[in-house]
Every structure is written in structure tokens, then in C-alpha cells.
Amino acid sequence: MNTREMDQHQIVEGLKNHNPDTIDEFVHHFSRPLFGVILNYTKNPSDAEEILQDTLLKIIRKIETFREESDIWPWIKRIAVNNSIMWLRKYRAARERETQLDDSMPHFTNDGQYVNPPWGWSVDPEEVMLNRELAGELYDAIQALPFEYRMPLVLRDIEGYSIKQISSLLSLKEPTTKTRIHRARLSVREKLSHYFEDGI
């Protein structure tokens, strides 16, 4: 995300002064990338729109605290991520039943061998590329995860946060964070396994 098209200093000053033209330009410039960030946390468009709106308002309200010597996009994105987590925790998480992902684990015999060994596939997984269809399936697989697994996975694998940062953001112990990410990955892998088997 670059702010070349609009001078960062102008944005910050304009938002501080509640300049209407700056607000229009700010929304035009940032709402689309912010919507992309937020959609990683929820695929419900209505929720995403509300979070986007709330995030934009928070950014304007907090603009006085932004340190101008740094790039504004990471600061804005951090507010969007924090806001997405807070919002979904408040309005959605309670409605989602705590779910275990045991079904996504491969099945093993008593001596720890695969019941159905994942081999004999027609293509090397490393050669599978992310096309539009696969990206859609991946996105759906992530969004199908229960909230408590989806959040750590998105923060780790999409946003690139550290285990420590995720644990702090979600108020989890680090081993719990790791377990949830691992189980979420296993679930996503299981849902996409036909791509690796069929070599699409």
C-alpha cells in the first residue's frame, strides 16, 4: 500500500482538521485495501462493511496519536486488524459454538501409521499454483473454521504476526495459540487435499 497518490502529511493534517475533501479522498484511497484486510476475518459482507465503517471512524478519531515520521498504512492496518478482532469477538464469537477440529486430523493406527497414507498423488504439491478457483476454495476453507481457530490462522499465515503477538492480541497462552494454528492448518489442508491429489 503506498500513499504516493496522496501526500501523507496532507491526509494527516486534513483528518485532524476534519476537512471534508480529505475525508472523501481518505475513504476513496483506503477503504478498498482496508476492506480486503477485514474480509480475511469475516466473509460476511454486512459484518465487513460495519467493521470498515467503524475502523475508518476510529482512524479519524485517533489521528492525533499517529506519529508522522512513520508510514501511515501499517498504523491504519493495525487499527483495522484490532478492530476486526474486537468487533467479531463482541458480535459473532459468542454465537459460534466452540468446535473441535478432530475430524481434520488424519487417522492413525494404534502404532501411529496412517490409516490412509497420503501418497501416490499425481502431482508434486510444490508445483501446484494458487489460481483463482483454488484461492476461492482456500478462502472458504479458512472462513469455515470456527472463530477461535480462524483468528490465529489469519493472523499468522495471512498477516504474518508472531506467535507472541497473536497470543497477546487474542489473550491466549502461546501453546494454545500454536495448537489452534496447527489444527486450523490441518483442517484447511484436508479441505484442499483434492487439489493436490488431482493436480488441478
Partner: protein, 99 residues
């Protein structure tokens, strides 16, 4: 005594394996297991590939309707005229016609 790693152990340790956070002894034992277990190699590759794919979702391009952009602009210009609400009293969206 040296214990043998099973395929189940291998799957359990994959996250730490790709993050390079395993103890050296466990890393060695897992490497040895992987060297002689094609199913686990496949499992490792697909597991790792999924995490890489997820990272590529970061740069997804999305579109938003012009109508939403206009509503957001109007809403924000209206909202900033009001004093900030006290924490805990903030209401949910006002700009969305469907709620």
C-alpha cells in the same frame, strides 16, 4: 534411550518443524523419519504449501461498490461533527440501510 518417531508424531510436530523451533534432537529424528517416509513427505509439502497459499491471500484485490464509498464518506463527515462517545456506549453502524 532413542525413541522412534511415528507418522502421527510427525504430523504433530510439523508446525514447529517448518518454523525451525524444534529441539535439535527432535529435528534430527524427524529428518530421519522423513527421509524414509514418502507419505509424511507428501503431508509436509501439502501442509507447508497451504500456509504459503494463505500468505498469498494477503494481497487479494477487492472491489467495493461506489455506493458504499459514498455512504461511508457521508457517514464520516456527519459523525466527526459529534463528540466522541464514551467507551462502552458506542452504537453499531448507522450508515447501513440493512441494519
Amino acid at each position: 534411550m532413542r525413541t522412534t518417531i511415528t507418522c502421527r508424531d510427525c504430523v504433530d510436530l510439523l508446525m514447529e518443524y517448518i518454523d525451525h523451533t524444534l529441539e535439535p534432537a527432535a529435528q534430527t529424528r524427524l529428518d530421519e523419519h522423513l527421509a524414509s517416509c514418502p507419505p509424511c513427505i507428501h503431508f509436509l509439502k501439502t501442509y507447508k504449501k497451504c500456509t504459503e497459499f494463505s500468505g498469498q491471500l494477503r494481497d487479494q484485490k477487492v472491489q467495493i461498490p461506489q455506493e458504499l464509498e459514498s455512504r461511508l464518506q457521508s457517514f464520516l463527515k456527519q459523525e466527526i461533527q459529534k463528540p466522541p462517545e464514551e467507551p462502552g456506549t458506542q452504537k453499531k453502524s448507522h450508515a447501513h440501510s440493512r441494519r
